[in-house]
C-alpha cells in the first residue's frame, strides 16, 4: 500500500507550504493516521483551525475534500444514500403493463437510482478523497452509529445492493467542539488529536503567515496581548481566527504599535461578550479610573 507521507517532518513542511503551521503533535498524528489507516478525531476550542487542518491536508495530498456538516436531525438519507424514488416511479410508469415485474424490481434498486450522499460518495470515489465530518458532537448519540461502519471498515452496507467497499482508504477527519462526550465506540475507532490555542511562538508565526503586510514587531505584540487576554477568566477566549481578524484590523488602521487606547478601541474584534470586553478593557487601561468613561 502506498503511503501519502514519508515521515513526520515531511508532513510538517508540506503543511507549512500550504500555509498551515502545524506543531509536532499535529504533524505526528496526521502522519500516523496515514500509516495506520485510521480516522482522526480532532477536538478543541472553537476557532483553533480544526476544519482548516482538514482542508490543508486535502490540499497537500491533492485529494478532493468531501464534507459532511453534522447537525441535530441528520439521518441516513442525508449522510449515506437515498433512493431516487421519483426516478423509480418514472421507471415503473414508463414500463407499461407488459413487462415482467421481477425484472423491473431488479432494475429499480440498481445503482442508477441511487443518490449518493457524502459518506457513500467518499467510499465510492475513484480519485483520492478526504472525508471531513464536521462537528460530530452535534449529532445525537443514536445517529453517531451511522459513522461506525465507515470508520472501522471503510464500507457501507446497502440492504438492496449489498456492501460497498472502499477502493482506497481515504483520510478521514472528524471535528468536535466537545459540547458533549462522544461515544466510546466512536472514539475507539479514531486517533485522537486535541488542538489547543497555540503557544506564543506559533501564534506569532501564524499571524505573520496569514496577515499580509504585518511587521514582526506588531505580530509579536499581537500574540503577546492575546496570550494575556486568554489568561483572564473569560466566557469565551479569543480564538486564532479572531486573533487574525484583529491583526488585520490593526494593519488596516495603520497602527504599528498597540497602546492601551488602540487596544481598547479595537478589542470588540477580539472578544464578543460584553462582560469579557469590560474585563479586558480594565486590564488594558493605564489608569483604572479612566475606563468608566472610556469603556462605556
Amino acid at each position: 500500500m502506498d503511503f501519502r507521507f514519508e515521515d513526520v517532518d515531511g508532513v510538517r513542511t508540506s503543511l507549512s507550504e500550504a500555509n498551515y503551521l502545524a506543531d509536532d503533535g499535529i504533524a505526528g498524528v496526521v502522519y500516523l493516521a496515514d500509516r495506520l489507516g485510521k480516522p482522526i478525531l480532532v477536538e478543541g476550542p472553537a476557532g483553533t483551525g480544526k476544519t482548516q487542518l482538514a482542508q490543508s491536508v486535502a490540499e497537500i495530498t491533492g485529494a478532493r475534500l468531501i464534507r459532511l456538516q453534522c447537525y441535530e436531525g441528520l439521518d441516513e438519507s442525508k449522510a449515506l444514500y437515498e433512493w431516487n424514488y421519483k426516478k423509480q416511479l418514472l421507471r415503473i410508469q414508463a414500463s407499461g403493463d407488459d413487462n415482467d415485474w421481477s425484472e423491473i424490481e431488479d432494475d429499480l434498486f440498481s445503482e442508477e437510482f441511487l443518490l449518493t450522499r457524502p459518506l457513500l460518495e467518499a467510499i465510492r470515489a475513484e480519485d483520492p478523497v478526504l472525508l471531513l465530518v464536521d462537528e460530530v458532537d452535534r449529532l445525537e448519540v443514536e445517529t453517531e452509529a451511522l459513522l461506525l461502519e465507515i470508520l472501522s471498515e471503510y464500507q457501507v452496507s446497502i440492504p438492496e445492493l449489498g456492501t460497498v467497499k472502499a477502493n482506497q482508504v481515504p483520510l478521514v477527519f472528524l471535528t468536535s467542539n466537545a459540547t458533549r462526550e462522544l461515544s466510546e465506540a466512536l472514539k475507539r475507532r479514531c486517533l485522537y488529536l486535541y488542538i489547543d490555542y497555540p503557544d506564543l511562538e506559533r501564534e506569532r508565526e501564524i499571524v505573520m503567515a496569514k496577515v499580509p503586510g504585518i511587521d514582526a514587531n506588531l505580530a509579536d505584540q499581537v500574540a503577546r496581548i492575546v496570550r494575556s487576554v486568554r489568561q483572564l477568566d473569560l466566557k469565551k477566549s479569543p480564538s486564532v481566527s479572531e486573533t487574525l481578524d484583529w491583526a488585520r484590523t490593526l494593519v488596516l488602521l495603520g497602527i504599528s504599535k498597540v497602546d492601551a487606547q488602540a487596544a481598547t478601541d479595537t478589542v470588540n474584534i477580539l472578544l464578543k461578550y460584553r462582560t469579557d470586553i469590560d474585563k479586558a478593557v480594565k486590564e488594558f487601561a493605564d489608569r483604572p479610573d479612566d475606563l468608566v468613561d472610556g469603556g462605556a
Binding site: V8, L32, E181, R188, D233, K235, D259, Y273, F284
Partner: protein, 480 residues
C-alpha cells in the same frame, strides 16, 4: 514486534494508565503497539504523540498521561542517558545534605558556583528565555537544594517545595520586572508592564516544570518505575476530592466546571426535548371519539410537561466545605433554566439569602465569589452551627417552602456539639417535595466526632456522598 523489552515496557505502561483511571481498551492497546512501529523510537516527542493519540481520547486525561509517560520513558531519550543520572548524588550514597544551599559534590561543571552566581545565571537565562540553560539550571538547583536521599519515602512535592523555597521565584519575578523597566527606553505603560509580567511568569512556570520533571527523573532512578508511578498517581480532575484539593487541583477543577456545566445543560435540554409523550388525556380522547361514532379510535395524549422543580440550596460555607458549596452553587445556577426557580442560602452559624447575587449576572463564577466574600453568615463565633442556622432559615423562609420545593442541604454536618434542631428538617420534609442532603465527606467518616449527619438524614429523602465532580454531576442530573 521482535523488540520484547519495549513490548514489556509498553504493557506495563498501559496497565499503569488503567490504574490511574484511564479507560484504555484492547483495540486501543493494539493500535498503540502498531503506531510505535511507524515512529522512529529515538524521537521522544513523536513517540509520545503516537501513544497519546491512540490511548488518550479525552483531553482532561492528558495531564495524567503525561506524568505516567514521563515516569516510564523518562530515561529512554538520549538527553537523559543513564550516565547523567548516575552522576547525581544517589549512586554515591552520599549522606544527607550538609545544609541548605551548600553545594554537593559530583554536580558537573556548575557545582563550583556560589548560590549568588547561580541566582544571577538564573536571572539571565530567564531574561533571555534560554531553554537549554534553564534546563541545566533546573538540574543544578535540584541537586543543590532538594536534598534528596536515596530510599527516603517522601513524595516529590516535598523536594519540589524545598527547591522552590531556596530559589525564591516570586522575588526573581520582581527582579526581572525591575530589570525590564530599567532596560526600556521610556516608562512602561501598564499594558506593556502587564505583558512583560505575563511573559516572565510563563518562563518561570516552565522552569518549575523543568524542576518537577528533574525531581521525578531522580526519584525514578532511585526507586524504580513501578513504585514511582504508584506514588505519582494523581486523580483525574473529575475524581479530585473537593475537601482535599490542592491549589493547582482547585484551579483545574474551576476550569473543568465550565465545560461540564455546558455539557450538562445541553444534555438536559435534549432530554427534555426528546421526552416521551405525556400520559393519556382521557377527556380529549372521548371528545374526539364522537366523530368516530363513540369509538375511541384516536387516542389523545397530554402535552408532556415535566414538572420543573423549585430549588432551594442551603449551603454551609465554613472553611473546609466552602469549595464544595462553591462548585455546587455554580452547577445549579448554570442549569437554572431547568428549574422554575432557584433560591440559595448560605450559612456558617448565621444564615443569609444570596439569591440576589445571581440575578441578572452573566458570570456565575463572579457571583459565587461574591457569595463567599459578601454574605453575612457569622452570628457568634464563625464556627458551624447547623441548629441555629436551620432555626433562622425556618423562621424567616419556612413559609416559602411548599409542595413544589426541593431543598438541597450541603454540608458535612459537623456541628461543633451544638444542638442539632433536627425537628426543623423533619417539619421541612413534611412541607417540601423532597429534602436532599449532600455530604462532601467520605461515607466512612459520617457520624464520627461531631458529625451528626445521621440524625439529620433520617428526615431526608436521600443523603448522598458527593466528593468529586463526577458524583456531583450524577446527582444534579438525577435532580432534574
Amino acid at each position: 514486534m521482535e523488540d520484547t523489552p519495549l513490548l514489556n515496557l509498553l504493557s506495563g505502561f498501559i496497565v499503569e494508565l488503567r490504574q490511574a483511571g484511564l479507560p484504555v481498551s484492547l483495540t486501543e492497546n493494539l493500535d498503540a503497539m502498531e503506531a510505535v512501529t511507524h515512529i522512529p523510537i529515538h524521537d521522544r516527542d513523536a513517540f509520545k504523540y503516537a501513544l497519546g493519540s491512540t490511548l488518550v481520547k479525552n483531553h482532561a486525561h492528558w495531564r495524567t498521561f503525561e506524568v505516567v509517560f514521563e515516569v516510564y520513558f523518562s530515561m529512554r531519550g538520549d538527553e537523559y542517558s543513564l550516565a547523567e543520572v548516575g552522576e547525581g548524588d544517589e549512586a554515591e550514597g552520599e549522606p544527607g545534605p550538609p545544609g541548605e544551599g551548600a553545594p554537593q559534590g559530583g554536580g558537573g561543571a556548575m557545582s563550583g558556583l556560589t548560590p549568588e552566581q547561580l541566582a544571577e545565571m538564573l536571572m539571565k537565562a530567564l531574561m533571555n528565555g534560554d531553554q537549554a540553560m534553564l534546563r541545566a539550571l533546573a538540574r543544578q538547583a535540584v541537586m543543590r537544594y532538594a536534598g534528596m536521599e536515596p530510599g527516603r519515602p517522601v513524595g516529590g512535592t516535598y523536594y519540589l517545595y524545598r527547591t522552590l523555597r531556596n530559589l525564591d521565584l516570586d522575588g526573581v519575578l520582581e527582579d526581572l520586572m525591575d530589570a525590564a523597566r530599567d532596560e526600556a527606553p521610556e516608562d512602561l505603560t501598564q499594558l506593556e508592564e502587564r505583558l512583560e509580567r505575563d511573559e516572565f511568569s510563563d518562563r518561570i512556570e516552565q522552569l518549575k516544570q523543568e524542576i518537577e520533571a528533574e525531581i521525578r527523573r531522580r526519584l525514578v532512578a532511585d526507586r524504580g518505575i513501578e513504585a514511582m508511578a504508584r506514588t505519582l498517581r494523581k486523580p483525574l480532575p473529575e475524581d479530585v476530592d473537593f475537601m482535599h484539593a490542592s491549589r493547582e487541583e482547585m484551579a483545574d477543577l474551576r476550569k473543568a466546571i465550565y465545560p461540564l456545566t455546558r455539557k450538562l445543560a445541553v444534555r438536559l435540554a435534549r432530554k427534555r426535548r426528546h421526552g416521551r409523550k405525556g400520559p393519556l388525556d382521557f377527556r380529549n380522547t372521548i371528545r374526539h371519539s364522537l366523530s368516530y361514532g363513540g369509538v375511541p379510535a384516536e387516542p389523545k395524549f397530554r402535552f408532556p410537561r415535566p414538572a420543573k422543580p423549585e430549588i432551594m440550596v442551603v449551603a454551609d460555607i465554613s472553611g473546609s466545605v466552602a469549595a464544595f458549596a462553591r462548585f455546587t452553587l455554580h452547577l445549579v445556577y448554570a442549569i437554572s433554566g431547568q428549574f422554575s426557580k432557584v433560591r440559595s442560602f448560605v450559612f456558617i452559624d448565621g444564615l443569609d439569602e444570596v439569591t440576589g447575587f445571581f440575578e441578572g449576572v452573566e458570570d456565575i463564577g463572579e457571583a459565587v465569589h461574591r457569595v463567599n466574600t459578601e454574605a453575612d453568615v457569622v452570628w457568634v463565633d464563625g464556627h458551624s452551627d447547623y441548629g441555629h442556622a436551620f432555626g433562622v432559615f425556618w423562621e424567616r423562609f419556612g413559609k416559602d417552602v411548599g409542595p413544589k420545593t426541593t431543598v438541597m442541604i450541603l454540608g458535612d454536618a459537623r456541628n461543633n456539639y451544638h444542638a442539632s434542631q433536627s425537628w426543623i428538617i423533619k417539619d421541612m420534609q413534611h412541607k417540601a417535595r423532597k429534602v436532599y442532603w449532600l455530604n462532601p465527606e467520605p461515607r466512612a467518616y459520617w457520624d464520627t466526632g461531631d458529625s451528626i449527619v445521621g440524625e439529620y438524614s433520617t428526615h431526608c429523602e436521600g443523603t448522598f456522598e458527593v466528593r468529586n465532580l463526577r458524583q456531583l454531576e450524577a446527582f444534579v442530573e438525577k435532580l432534574v
